[in-house]
């Protein structure tokens, strides 16, 4: 597809998601309390977006990923949080 065709097909959907993202950040900021590791990682991952480079989706995913390579001693939970809390 040409760039204009991509924009035609996806602009409104992406626009809505961008506004949803902004509203989410507003909602978090209005709520009393402080960020946890997920929001810290989220705000860090957002810094990947303004970079004028390819593979932004991959960069955001890598930013949210556990970068370590050794297996955990044991699984203490079954679910994932969506962001790596850092070394414990």
């Amino acid at each position: 597809m040409k760039r204009e065709q991509v924009i035609d097909l996806y602009f409104m959907e992406a626009r809505a998601k961008l506004i949803d993202l902004a509203a989410f950040l507003d909602r978090v900021d209005r709520a009393p309390g402080t960020d946890d590791f997920r929001m810290t990682a989220f705000r860090h991952a957002m810094q990947e977006l303004p970079v004028n480079q390819p593979n932004l989706a991959k960069r955001v995913l890598l930013s949210l990923s556990d970068p370590t390579t050794e297996p955990l001693p044991a699984a203490t939970a079954k679910t994932a949080a969506g962001a790596w809390p850092g070394p414990k």
Binding site: L9, L61, D66, P67, A74, A75, T76, K78
Partner: protein, 268 residues
């Protein structure tokens, strides 16, 4: 349109889902063994689950004209209990010759623990000894990258594993290249919130070689869409992919991989 649903947990779905899938052009559905949402308390629970997958569910699917196949294993979420895992591994061979069993899966990792990795390697050994295909689950969200690397390293360390007989599922933009470069097949799971949207799947089809790719809904008891594959096919068509290219992705590719199992019968 015709398609194969290569990964769906139909025991968690309704007959309405079977009807909708068949109406949309689904010809066969493949069901990996997975976690029930709670830990099973004994090997007997798995025995009954394997009976459900190999006996009852094919009959339920057949009422809607769908072929039903399955994969067998203990899910990585239940792999911390090594003793239970070994008991479950012990009963799987009894089911491998049933006519709808495609191989061992979906094995893999969940939180990337040592016991999960040990049980994963035991499953790979079982598959190698019995000449079975392997379907692999990669972990969720922040654990996916590390888990995918550990899985690939473990597979490469076992000289009996033929990469073309292994599909590593739930790839995203940060793991797809690792999987394809190592010679394995890669699965893209179409979920509304996690994993991969139809648009992102189409992106990856356009960015990487689609020779060893498939798409699946992985519909189960959670937030998931049984018609995700035909919807992704529509996404491809809207982006200008030819009908032939769409057919290759949602029908031809699954057929090519699954036909490596002696139990998979061509469907058209």
């Amino acid at each position: 349109m015709r398609y194969i649903e290569p990964h769906a947990h139909m025991v968690s779905r309704t007959t309405d889902d079977y009807l909708a899938m068949a109406t949309a052009g689904c010809l066969a559905v493949c069901e990996p063994a997975f976690w029930a949402g709670f830990d099973r308390s004994s090997v007997d629970g798995f025995y009954d689950y394997f009976r459900q997958l190999t006996d009852y569910e094919p009959k339920r699917a057949a009422k809607f004209g769908l072929a039903h196949y399955c994969w067998l294993c203990l899910n990585p979420k239940e792999s911390e209990d090594i003793k239970l895992a070994e008991e479950v591994l012990g009963i799987i061979p009894e089911f491998l010759n049933r006519p709808s069993v495609l191989g061992i899966g979906e094995i893999g990792l969940n939180k990337n623990s040592r016991n999960e990795l040990a049980v994963f390697e035991k499953h790979v050994d079982l598959a190698a000894r019995h000449g079975q295909l392997i379907l692999i689950h990669t972990p969720h969200l922040e654990d996916k990258l590390k888990g995918t690397r550990l899985i690939i390293d473990a597979l490469k360390a076992d000289g009996r594993v033929a990469p073309e007989r292994v599909i590593i599922d739930h790839v995203e933009e940060h793991t797809i290249q690792l999987v394809l470069d190592a010679g394995f097949w890669a699965g893209m799971t179409l979920y509304p919130e996690s994993k991969c949207t139809a648009a992102r799947a189409a992106d990856m089809i356009e960015m990487y070689s689609s020779e060893r790719l498939w798409m699946n809904s992985a519909c189960d008891w959670g937030v998931s869409v049984p018609l995700a594959v035909p919807r992704a096919a529509l996404e491809m068509r809207l982006r200008g992919h030819t009908a032939k290219a769409v057919d290759a992705m949602i029908y031809g590719n699954p057929i090519r991989f699954l036909s490596q199992s002696k139990n998979f019968r061509s469907c058209s």
